[in-house]
Symmetry: C2
Amino acid sequence: MKILWVFAHPEPRSLNGSLRDDGTQALRDLGHEVRESDLYAMDWRPVVDSGDFHRETVDRLLVGAEQEHAYSAAKLTDDITAEQEKIAWADALVFQFPLWWFGPPAILKGWFDRVLVQGFAFGLQDHAGRTLRYGDGGLAGKRAMVITTVGARESGFGPRGIHGQLDEVLFPLLHGTFWYTGMDALPPYVVYGADRLDAAGYRTRAAELRERLRTLPVTEPLPYRHEHRGDYDDALVLHPEIEPNLTGVAAHRSRTPER
Amino acid sequence: MKILWVFAHPEPRSLNGSLRDDGTQALRDLGHEVRESDLYAMDWRPVVDSGDFHRETVDRLLVGAEQEHAYSAAKLTDDITAEQEKIAWADALVFQFPLWWFGPPAILKGWFDRVLVQGFAFGLQDHAGRTLRYGDGGLAGKRAMVITTVGARESGFGPRGIHGQLDEVLFPLLHGTFWYTGMDALPPYVVYGADRLDAAGYRTRAAELRERLRTLPVTEPLPYRHEHRGDYDDALVLHPEIEPNLTGVAAHRSRTPER
């Protein structure tokens, strides 16, 4: 496979840096092609502003419309276009980051904000004029996997842990970004207790990660529901007969995988 | 009250800009003191890196430890210190942003990443040596409110809407950031269908916002559970008798408010 590894940690001599080195090497040893976006090393600029566009006039900035227009007119800045080219090339994307405030560091959040523009990642329509989202869309057919490190213990991110069940805490990324743009969201690989990991613990985690990377092409994705396969009504609300007792983010996983 | 308004939109001549102007004016008319952090206007740098610290040596960067050390030694950069001073001053914080990829824009995510460091916002201990989090902590006693704009219709963010129930989508911010640092998280004020709002629609939304700001000092917060009031065990897992049938982020709201 062709795999894009997006890395968002400021220190290469860190747990994250070691996992990145071992992980990308494991993928290459398996015969995959790997490209990397090391956002700190690239000095990636994460802030959406009028500098993202080759604009003729400097009038009022309508962000979404300007992004879509600039994409279709090939007027996005080169740094954005280069990332879009890598995404288009890849069969699978790996996003590795330390969990800061229960989400990606700003440098990675701004990669999504600037790169996944309308027309490229979403906002496409099918022949019937329906907007393609949630299981369909600009990035359909690709797989996406999170690798993250957390200081807390695993129990706190379990089904009844105080920090919230991890895949629900990451819902904006797994469902709202990966699945929204059509990508299959794989279960995240998480290193808990990251601040207290010793050398033996590292070897265990690195071996787990290699195994997750070995099965990357075939791992069953999280069973999110497609927008256009009958689960939702025209107001984008789950039909009453589907999981009638569930509300909230938990309702958007099907208990029995669709595929 | 003393209110800090943090604003994260690149275009002052936008729906968000108008709501900011009307909202801050409404608070001043009510007799509150208002300070603003207009992140785009400030050219706020959102990326945590070694430049955040007045460091004697440039060795391996351990982000959390370095932030805590620099805070206690007064060696954080001036831009971070200035924001911490505003937070310490404020009784309530308002965070206004367009919802991008189901969360705050990178410029605001990086405000949390850089400003809410250990020792200031969290990591404090009580007399018994317990770490103060979730309802207690460095920012306890303050209130925090989100104002956000969304292109989608409201139905999609309802209890069974495809985008996920809004307060659960914002769980990393409302529970994992506000409540984690001790702040009471107020129900967000959301403008749906933001791309299709006409002048009459704007007047309605602005009036709603003014009413929400009028009641800011007394609005009932989201009923998240305190870490240290008996709901969680030592592994930070909800006791079995508490909402025995609930898992995931929904389990961390008490149906009957604690206060």
